[in-house]
């Protein structure tokens, strides 16, 4: 509750600041919108940022999820409202809230993070999801230009639970790692870029032990087909 109030206060200050007096811009970037075919249930997955704001302050809705087609259920459903403020030339500080509402228990976190471009063109997100069962997340993505239209995008995402959250299968210090490689083609400008690729997930440590105990696999590999979208 206090957290939500804090967030509201930040938002109020931001909206009242003169930064928003300049002409704002907006856009939507869907990094992943794909069909994942693997050994278990096939999935529909997405990962998008919808952005509005100015140079000084951006308001981002970030949504990530996985819908299991066999179970007809959201295996993952995560929505974040994030405020981004530049702190260096290439990095923004992030504060926000994250609500997870998948099949099963819901979770609410505060978000503190950094988002930006590291040397050698690595796109980086480093977030701490704050609650009494906090989780740290580190994401890196790289766009490798095979040609000016064919792009290979390797990515890695590591979720590190800092405390046990057994109800959702997270064991303290047991990371969950997702590695992907997607080969896309810019079909229409950068607006529509279909891709194929592979997506691999694996859990380690305490989280792996929880998965094993629940009779689940500790890893999964998918072939993916989907499209990037930007508008």
């Amino acid at each position: 509750m206090t957290r939500t109030a804090g967030f509201a206060a930040v938002l109020a200050v931001a909206v009242a600041s003169p930064a928003l007096a300049e002409s704002p811009f907006w856009g939507v970037q869907v990094e992943q919108f794909e069909y994942r075919a693997g050994e278990g249930s096939d999935l529909l997955a997405w990962d998008l940022d919808a952005l509005a704001g100015t140079d000084a302050l951006k308001f981002v809705w970030r949504s990530e999820g996985e819908f299991a087609l066999d179970e007809d259920a959201f295996e993952a459903m995560e929505n974040q409202l994030r405020l981004q403020v530049p702190v260096t030339d290439f990095f923004d500080a992030v504060v926000g809230v994250r609500a997870d509402t998948p099949e099963g228990p819901d979770r609410l976190y505060g978000v503190i993070g950094l988002h930006g471009l590291a040397p050698q063109w690595f796109e980086v997100d480093a977030d701490l999801f704050v609650s009494d069962r906090p989780v740290a997340r580190f994401e890196v993505e790289y766009e490798g230009l095979i040609t000016n239209r064919i792009v290979l995008t390797p990515s890695i995402e590591v979720d590190l639970p800092l405390r046990d959250d057994r109800a959702i299968g997270l064991g303290a210090w047991g990371p969950k790692v997702e590695i992907g490689a997607r080969l896309g083609y810019d079909l229409v400008d950068r607006a529509i870029s279909p891709y194929v690729g592979v997506h691999y997930e694996r859990v380690f440590g305490a989280t792996r032990r929880l998965a094993r105990a629940a009779g689940e696999d500790d890893d999964a590999v998918y072939l993916v087909v989907g499209t990037r979208l930007m508008f």
Binding site: E22, S23, T88, D89, R190
Partner: protein, 565 residues
Amino acid sequence: MTTIAMVRAAAFGAGLAMLPGGAAMAGTYDITVDRIAIDTGDFVKRGVGYNKSQTPTILRWREGEEVTINVTNNLSEETSIHWHGLILPFDQDGVPGVSFEGIAPGETFTYRFPIVQAGTYWFHSHSGFQEPDGAYGAIIIEPKGREPFRYDRDHVVQLTDKHPHSGARIMRNLKMMPDYYNRQQRTLFDFLGDAAEKGLGAALADRGDWGSMRMMPTDIEDVQGFTPLINGKGPAQNWTGLFTPGERVRLRFINSSAMTYFDIRIPGLKMTVVQADGNNVQPVTVDELRIAVAETYDVIVRPMEDRAYTIFAESMGRTAYARGTLAPREGMEAEVPEMRSPPLLTMADMGMAHGDMGHGAMQGGTHTMPDGSVMQGAAHGHMDHAGHGAADAGGDPFYAPGSGLTPEAANGGKVLSYADLKAQKPLYAHREATREIELRLTGNMERYLWTINGVKHGDSEPIRLTYGERVRFKFVNETMMTHPMHLHGMWSILDNGSGAWNPVKHVVSVAPGTTVYMETEVDAPGQWVFHCHLAYHMEAGMMRKVIVEGGPAAKSASSAAVTGG
């Protein structure tokens, strides 16, 4: 001038009345601002045009004339017309929010001002992205006296970079993803090519250097994917200007592009440059010239043969070309050359030698170089080469030594340099500047943030000048892009080492990694603007309001009285 343009100009001149007794002439001109369809030959798009046409309107005026221009806004949004390069009362300058309130939809605004100069100029909207969307035209002012050069006919050659996307969408895309339109980035194949040529280590080191700065050596044109037009016609539509063999033909090049510099040549013809930005210069004969955004150059060519000649204007980044034809008869064509390979920026364009890397010079990632390195490079160029002509072994002094952008003629001949420009007749008595103002051209490509002294227009204080002073502006380009800087209302006297014969311009282009000086005689009271003429750089914040304080009360009063509505 084409026949169509002639007819139009005649129509505009219909209201022109000659007053007896040598009194000032007066002319009335009407311009409508309309939503139109623009057909480039490659695509058709909705845009803005003057007098319902994608062919730029040409206004033909006489020096000494008192013009009245009725501008009717048929758009559903505010508009404005800025008379680019004209010396006039500030409230006629056409910048909404600075000179006047703008022209509301459906409204007719009447501009009224005396024409106190001669030469080739242009006009365009200063509202939103109407200029990139098509709102531009040409101005030709005939001098009172005799011209210091002869020609038998003249043609306006007005260039633009017509993009399928609207200006607003381009700006949004650039903000979302600054390399949205860059389709000349270094790829895996370029890397393999480099590795084969220079060795893997060198290729990796080169990638590493650029990558550590998070900059691209191909970042020369922010906005690619456009079709260049000449007088409203795409390369396939082939605008044609007629001549009779043996005639001297004056070509009035105007670059009305939103973002694009062009390298212009006419294979088979030498071009004698006689005017730059409306002011006569001592003639200099060249094979090729680079025209910055918003500049004008008048050249005289003399085609002797009874054949067609191609006017070929490649974009500086070699992503597209404009093409027109000079021919003795309609329907003729000459060979269209291949575009040359795209240039690559070098570490010199970053204001540093390659060996300087790794000292954390780019620490924090600002495009700010250590002052010393920028200054050194520029001082070197300025002292050693300026005034000696660009043909010196040192290359063009208006590019950083070792720059990847330095223009070269396709035929190995002469390219026009700023160093070649010498005023035909100085406009002002030469004197020492009373003070210097430093304007560092700054930015952040990754955020598509363009600033002056690190501050956006919206967050900045106006530059305050005092009537009667002569200010020396020092531009230090700390970005990797070339910026055409345009001061409204007063002349920009480019310091190219020619002293009293320094050329008088309205746009001063500043290449990356260089320092360029210009001086301004502050002789126009009121409020003006000073900005980078790249449309999306200006919008992003590379602009300043300029306030001239003091000055003759009578002048201010009379200018206030002219405000019409």
